[in-house]
């Protein structure tokens, strides 16, 4: 009597294992189809669609100017002694990690302190990290609208007869079609950034 029971158990175990294998294979196949980003996937987001800002030469720039390139967009201010240099140093390192593909990456630094970040300061500042970086600014109202469109928080905080700025530190990445795809966090490494930007450059 025990014999057929054992056989049944064996069949069940085998089919269970088979089901598990099918499941595992299925998962792997699903993963191959879509890119796995290390940043926050914002594909299909209804915000962060475009900007209209001015470069240090006085030209108006929008996302359409960077078609075919991956754009890494960061909001900050030049008087920032800590996070902004760290973000721009990382962006310069990302360009090195991308090697020959670096020419297809445009790093953009948007000031949330246009009052003090005059075009010459902005230009000198971004160039100090990498001459290929672009600084953009708008007037107070345009800055406010842009930050709102990108869900970027910034606030003037008085200190010592002067002021400093609180601000969001996410970096946004756009694919070569100009669509917002990712938000990368400040604590992520240059390797994480390069990994995700490479995927965007492959049109994933």
């Amino acid at each position: 009597m025990a014999y057929p029971l054992r056989a049944l158990a064996r069949v069940l175990a085998a089919s269970g294992l088979l089901a598990l294998l099918v499941l595992v294979a299925g998962c792997q196949r699903a993963d191959e189809g879509r890119a796995v980003f290390r940043g926050l996937d914002l594909t299909g987001a209804s915000y962060g669609r475009d900007f209209r800002l001015t470069d240090p030469e006085g030209r108006e720039r929008t996302l359409a100017d960077f078609k075919g390139q991956v754009v890494l967009l960061y909001f900050g201010f030049t008087q920032c002694p800590d996070v902004c240099p760290t973000a721009l140093i990382r962006a310069a390192e990302v360009r090195q990690l991308l090697g020959a593909q670096a020419s297809r990456l445009q790093v953009i630094f948007v000031t949330i302190d246009p009052e003090r970040d005059l075009p010459a300061v902005l230009k000198g500042y971004t160039a100090a990290f990498d001459p290929a970086f672009l600084g953009l600014y708008g007037d107070a109202e345009r800055t406010r609208q842009t930050a709102q469109e990108f869900k970027v928080y910034y606030k003037k905080v008085p200190t010592g007869g002067s002021y400093t700025m609180d601000h969001s530190t996410l970096s946004y990445a756009f694919d070569p079609q100009g669509r917002l795809r990712l938000a990368l966090r400040h604590e992520q490494s240059a390797q994480d950034y390069a990994h995700d930007l490479r995927l965007l450059l492959q049109n994933l």
Binding site: Q79, P81, V83, V121, G160, S168, T169, S189
Partner: protein
């Protein structure tokens, strides 16, 4: 002669202060022309419990001790009234934490400049000591050691 005595006294005071609090690896982030603020970073060790209560520099109109904090991906920078220096413990002012904020800069801080800094340290007994130092300016794109440890400064191709 009087001058010599005075400067000798100043030197001795500085030596005495250095015995209390030592400063290592002080540096200032260089700026671009017309940039009005930057930060100074360093490592402090105090022999006895003390507090860094003030910083001054002739290159800046306003100098404050700042703490940087990240709250929900938002960077906030605030002046703190002082920075505790527990006895024998290294306190690091570095990107991602504390810094001496130099505001209303009187001119550009160029890479390689030696920036004079005065630190005022207060002991538990309320006695204040001043430390004079010169911190070299490092390029604007100088990274803190810590930021590189995550990933791959060693693996980076130059």
């Amino acid at each position: 002669m009087k001058r010599l005595t005075l400067s000798l006294a100043a030197l001795m005071m500085a030596v005495a202060a250095q015995a209390q609090v030592s400063v290592k690896d002080a540096w200032v982030r260089a700026t671009v022309p017309q940039q009005q603020a930057t930060g100074a970073f360093m490592q402090l060790v105090s022999a006895k419990d003390a507090k860094l209560v003030e910083a001054r520099s002739p290159v800046a109109g306003v100098v404050e001790i700042h703490e940087m904090a990240m709250v929900d991906q938002v960077m906030k920078m605030r002046a703190v009234p002082g920075l505790e220096l527990p006895a024998g413990k290294m306190v690091e002012l570095k990107p991602g934490g504390y810094h001496v904020m130099l505001m209303d800069l009187k001119g550009q801080v160029k890479d390689g400049d030696m920036v004079p800094l005065t630190l005022v340290v207060e002991g538990k007994d309320g006695k204040r000591q001043t430390l004079e130092l010169k911190a070299p300016a490092r390029p604007l794109n100088a990274a803190a050691q810590k930021d590189m440890s995550q990933g791959g400064h060693g693996a980076m191709k130059h």
